[in-house]
Every structure is written in structure tokens, then in C-alpha cells.
């Protein structure tokens, strides 16, 4: 093409008469944009450092175990590779990482919308108030699953890969897959709902982080002290940070609890807290008008 062929073309405004997606696509768009931003996408490096570091820490136990196996061979773990880090213990092992990750991610999803008064803008589109809450729960859940679900799945895949007879391993341990998925989802949904509910109470991210930590830490400490002092094991259920992890462990056959509380009790407590969180979200985001 010669210079004579070149021409300046105005960027014209064109009308769009093509198909328009509905509410589901709008909810998915809200969830995708929100979760990516919470992870620091399209933001400065400071916004990326903490979430990415925490995700790497979540994967660290699996990568260490599999790395040692890859470097030193099958004899490195006396009880076998699978026993070195049981799936049932994985989320407990990285429990603090999951907690901090959810504290970092969930306020970022809703606090800026209140601070910048963006809600009115969102509600003028195809999404309703209810859709907004669903989208934000999905937005919280997707990154949290990166630390509650993805690492044990990677560990499972590694165990299959390094097994002397991979197919035989899958045959023996197939039931662990739904357990891993169930545990990851339970913990993920719990932290997503609780984090969003607390964050919805304020437009200030710092207050949300502080409130969330206080909600998880204070009852845990108080419950632990009272349980010890009064010798009343049920008070251990106040350990809100441990509630979903203990409930998830109940999905595995090797479940045990030092206070002899049943997995069902932990699960019921988890559900109760999640229901309260849903009620808080419903109240905070008001009546659905559309």
C-alpha cells in the first residue's frame, strides 16, 4: 500500500442491532470482572503481590511434597506419598492462608462499590440487586477456590502421576475426588458469604478487614478459653475460623476431633453462620426491584 492509498478514517458511532445477552451473562460478567480485580488484574503491582503470594502459599505444601518425591524418589516418604500430606488435612494445614486470603479478597469486591457509589450504575443495567449479590458471591468464590480446591486437586494429580500404578491409585482413591471438591466448595462458600456480609456493612476497606478478622478471631479465642475453663467442648464451636475446615474434614473417613464434637455439629454451625451471612446480604442490598 502506498502513501497515496492511505486515508484518515473517522471512528464513527455505529448502532448495534445484534443479539443481547440476558441476566445470566450480566451476572457472569460482573463476577469475572470483580474477581479479576480482586486478584489485582489491570491494577498496579501492589494490588497483585498479596493475593498472588497467598495463592502460592496455598499451593506450597502440595508442591513441596510432590517436589521432594520428584527429587528423591518413592522412598523419601516412609508411609507412602499419599500419607505424607493427607487430603483431609490439606485445608487445615493452609487454614491461616485461606483465612487471610479471604480477608484480603472479599472487602475488595464490595467496599469500593459503596465508596465510589457505583451501585446505582450497576442497578441501571440488566442486573438487579439480587443479581448483584449472586455475582459478588461468585466473584468471591472463584478466587477463594484457588486456595481451597485447586491445591488438593494438584496434590491428587501429582499422587496419580507419581504412583507406580496410576490407574490402580485412581481406582483405590476415586472417592477422594468428590470429597476434595465438596470440602473446597464448603470452605469457599463459607468464607465468601461471611467475608461479603461483613464487608457489606462498610464502605471502608480497612474497617471491613478489621471487622472480618475480629469476627473470626475474637469468638475463637473467647470460645477456646471458656471451653478450657468450663470444660465445655460445645463452646469450641465458637471458633468460627475453624468451623468450615472441621466441617469439611468430616467428609473424609479419617475424621477426628480433639473435643469429640461430631462433624455434623460443625457442619450445622457452618450452615447457620452462612444463613446469617445471607440474611445480612439480603438486608444490606435491599428489596429487589427488578
Amino acid at each position: 500500500m502506498s502513501a497515496a492509498d492511505a486515508r484518515v478514517t473517522d471512528v464513527a458511532y455505529s448502532t448495534y442491532d445484534g443479539p443481547r445477552a440476558g441476566r445470566i451473562a450480566a451476572i457472569w460478567s460482573l463476577a469475572r470482572w470483580s474477581s479479576l480485580r480482586a486478584l489485582g488484574a489491570r491494577r498496579g503491582w501492589k494490588a497483585k503481590v498479596i493475593p498472588i503470594t497467598l495463592i502460592l502459599l496455598g499451593f506450597a505444601p502440595a508442591l513441596v511434597v510432590l517436589g521432594l518425591r520428584a527429587l528423591f524418589g518413592p522412598t523419601v516418604f516412609k508411609g507412602g506419598l499419599a500419607d505424607a500430606l493427607p487430603y483431609s488435612n490439606y485445608t487445615a494445614t493452609i487454614g491461616i492462608v485461606i483465612l487471610v486470603f479471604s480477608v484480603v479478597v472479599t472487602p475488595e469486591l464490595v467496599c469500593p462499590d459503596r465508596r465510589d457509589r457505583t451501585l446505582s450504575l450497576y442497578f441501571s443495567t440488566a442486573i438487579s440487586r439480587g443479581d448483584y449479590v449472586v455475582g459478588k458471591v461468585l466473584a468471591a468464590l472463584m478466587p477463594i477456590l484457588l486456595v481451597t480446591l485447586a491445591p488438593p486437586l494438584i496434590l491428587y494429580a501429582g499422587n496419580v502421576l507419581f504412583a507406580i500404578h496410576p490407574l490402580a491409585y485412581v481406582e483405590r482413591h476415586w472417592a477422594d475426588i468428590p470429597r476434595i471438591i465438596g470440602a473446597g466448595l464448603l470452605i469457599g462458600v463459607f468464607y465468601a458469604l461471611v467475608g461479603l456480609a461483613i464487608s457489606s456493612l462498610t464502605s471502608r476497606r480497612a474497617f471491613a478487614v478489621g471487622g472480618y478478622l475480629a469476627f473470626l478471631a475474637i469468638p475463637t479465642v473467647v470460645g477456646g478459653v471458656l471451653a478450657h475453663a468450663l470444660n465445655e467442648n460445645y463452646l469450641r464451636l465458637l471458633a468460627f475460623a475453624a468451623v468450615p475446615i472441621q466441617a469439611a474434614r468430616g467428609l473424609y473417613p479419617d475424621y477426628s476431633d480433639r473435643g469429640h464434637l461430631s462433624a455434623g455439629l460443625w457442619a450445622a454451625t457452618s450452615v447457620e453462620i452462612m444463613v446469617v451471612a445471607i440474611v445480612v446480604l439480603a438486608v444490606r442490598y435491599g428489596r429487589d426491584t427488578g
Binding site: Y16, R20, A21, A26, L119, L121
Partner: protein, 313 residues
């Protein structure tokens, strides 16, 4: 003319009432919007924003009905909202996003496929004059740039109708001029019907084809805005100190049309001739040439303001 076919009105509001506790925001408002650009005029608290929120289905009216683009605005509201654009009055942009990301995101939320939303975001940001700043964070924008971003997000999905709530609020004179020009372009060049609220009559007169005046939640008056009217053309009535015939001759030599209005020596002269600036310059030059003074100078016809005041009573 309407996007939804034929002569169907863009907006039909029938007896809409809305009350917040003891405060009556809207009281039996009935209005039909057929023109491509309609202004909602009223003081703060007159019910403009409430009426817009009813149109968008963001709030339910206590009584009455609203149809927008042929769709009942109250049910299902999301269906009508994805065909509408909305520019809220207050600052509501996510400050941590770039203009491009916001416009793409809002396009997707209003039903555009992602690829289309990306393409159209570039188009509308160009149209509002933000093509160079599209990758900057919104928090670094001036008020005028934020308002233009706000407008871009409202039209990215090619809406049949865009609702603008006080689009010139908070803008400096230059920013206001730019925004008014953009708003006028929406209906005249881009084919998007406009409902714009304002408490400034001049803003409505310059950008709209008709005006609905709200007062205390009721429709106080509706008027078409004739952009070819004497007031808008710039025709004037003058009263001369000195020789009116001399002034008329001088004015005619400058290409203006002059005739008497009211008769008698002290009567008014009507001066016509092209645009407002040309007439005023001609009157000044003719007065100098004829050596006369100007006692009074007024628009030749009743202004929109006078007309509305007369209608409101």
C-alpha cells in the same frame, strides 16, 4: 419516531405517583415522549430524578404505569434497562478502573458480547473525546472527563433511549459547553433519543426538542422547543432614541430587514436577518451609522422562559 417501531412513543407515563413517607415525589404525572430529545425541567426536589428512576424500573411507582420503548418499565425491569442508557446525576464511577475497562464492563452488563463491547468502547470514547485518555484511571480525571466517561458508559450498548440526570452538574463553563454539544449530538447525529433533566432552562433549550416542566411532583407545563423560532433565530425588537427611519435605512443597508411593530414614533422596530450574533452586530452598527441611541432591545418573540412562565401561571 421511535426505535421500537412506527409512531409508538418512546416513553408513556400515565398517572404515576410516588411517595417517600410524607413527601410526595410524584403526584399523578402523565406525559408522553415522542420527540428525539426531551428535557425534564424543574427545581431541586421537583421529582425529575424520581421520574427517571421510575422509567428505568429502579423504583416502583405507588400508582400509575410507565412504558419505555414499548416495554412496561416495572416488569421485567432488567429487560428494559439493557435497552436504555443511564447517566446518573452524582459521581458514581469506580475510581480504580480505567475509562476503557469501565465502558467495556458496562457494555457487557447491558448485554453486549465481550468482543463487541471492546470495539464499541473505543467508538464511544472517541465520540466523547476521551480516546487519548482511555487507559488512564478514572480517579485521575477532571470532573468534565468523568462526566464524559459517564456519558460514554451510558451509550456504549447503542441504547434506543438514554436518560441523562443533570449532565452538566458541577462542570465549569467550558466543560458545560462541551457536554451540551455532546448531548445535542446524541439525538441529531448518533440517533439516540434523549431524556435529560436539568434545572437550567438554557441547557434544555439548547439540547432538546421539547420540555416537560415539573413542579412539586406534578407536570406544570409541556412545550415544544422551536429551534427556528424568532427568539432562537435572534430576531429583536428595538426602541430607538432619535430618528427611527434613519436607523431603519442604515440597518437595511447592512442587509437586515426592519419593520415597525406597534406604530407611532415611539413604537418598536422589528429587526430580522440571520443568526443572533449577526442581528445584534447589525443593530449596533446601524445605530452608530444613524447616530441614534438604543432605549430597549428585546427578543422579537416570547422566549421559551416567558412562554413557560405563562403556562405555569
Amino acid at each position: 419516531m421511535s426505535r421500537n417501531g412506527g409512531d409508538e412513543p418512546l416513553v408513556e407515563i400515565e398517572g404515576v405517583s410516588k411517595r417517600y413517607g410524607s413527601i410526595v415525589a410524584l403526584d399523578g404525572v402523565t406525559a408522553t415522549v415522542r420527540e428525539r430529545a426531551v428535557g425534564l425541567l424543574g427545581a431541586n426536589g421537583a421529582g425529575k430524578s424520581t421520574l427517571m428512576r421510575v422509567m428505568l424500573g429502579l423504583i416502583r411507582a405507588d400508582a400509575g404505569s410507565a412504558r419505555v420503548l414499548g416495554i412496561d418499565a416495572s416488569r421485567p425491569a432488567w429487560e428494559v434497562r439493557r435497552l436504555l442508557g443511564y447517566m446518573p446525576e452524582h459521581s458514581c464511577l469506580p475510581l480504580g478502573m480505567t475509562a476503557r475497562d469501565l465502558v467495556v464492563h458496562m457494555g457487557e452488563l447491558r448485554g453486549l458480547p465481550r468482543r463487541v463491547a471492546v470495539l464499541r468502547a473505543s467508538e464511544v470514547l472517541f465520540q466523547v473525546g476521551l480516546e487519548e485518555e482511555r487507559s488512564r484511571l478514572i480517579r485521575t480525571f477532571s470532573v468534565g472527563m468523568k462526566q464524559r466517561t459517564n456519558l460514554a458508559q451510558a451509550i456504549v450498548h447503542s441504547p434506543g433511549l438514554v436518560i441523562l440526570d443533570e449532565p452538566t452538574n458541577g462542570l465549569d463553563p467550558a466543560g458545560r459547553e462541551e457536554m451540551l454539544a455532546l448531548v445535542r449530538r446524541l439525538s441529531t447525529e448518533l440517533g439516540i433519543a434523549v431524556v435529560m433533566s436539568s434545572h437550567v432552562l438554557e441547557d434544555v433549550a439548547r439540547t432538546c426538542d421539547s420540555v416537560i416542566v415539573l413542579r412539586e411532583g406534578k407536570v406544570a407545563a409541556t412545550r415544544a422547543i422551536d429551534h427556528t423560532s424568532a427568539a432562537v433565530r435572534g430576531d429583536v425588537r428595538v426602541r430607538i432614541v432619535g430618528d427611527p427611519d434613519g436607523f431603519a435605512r442604515a440597518a437595511r443597508q447592512l442587509g437586515l430587514k426592519v419593520h415597525r411593530d406597534g406604530g407611532g414614533e415611539d413604537g418598536w422596530l422589528i429587526v430580522q436577518g440571520g443568526d443572533a450574533d449577526g442581528v445584534l452586530t447589525g443593530v449596533r452598527d446601524a445605530a452608530c451609522t444613524a447616530g441614534v441611541g438604543l432605549r430597549e432591545l428585546r427578543p422579537a418573540g416570547p422566549t421559551l422562559e416567558e412562554s413557560l412562565i405563562g403556562a405555569i401561571g
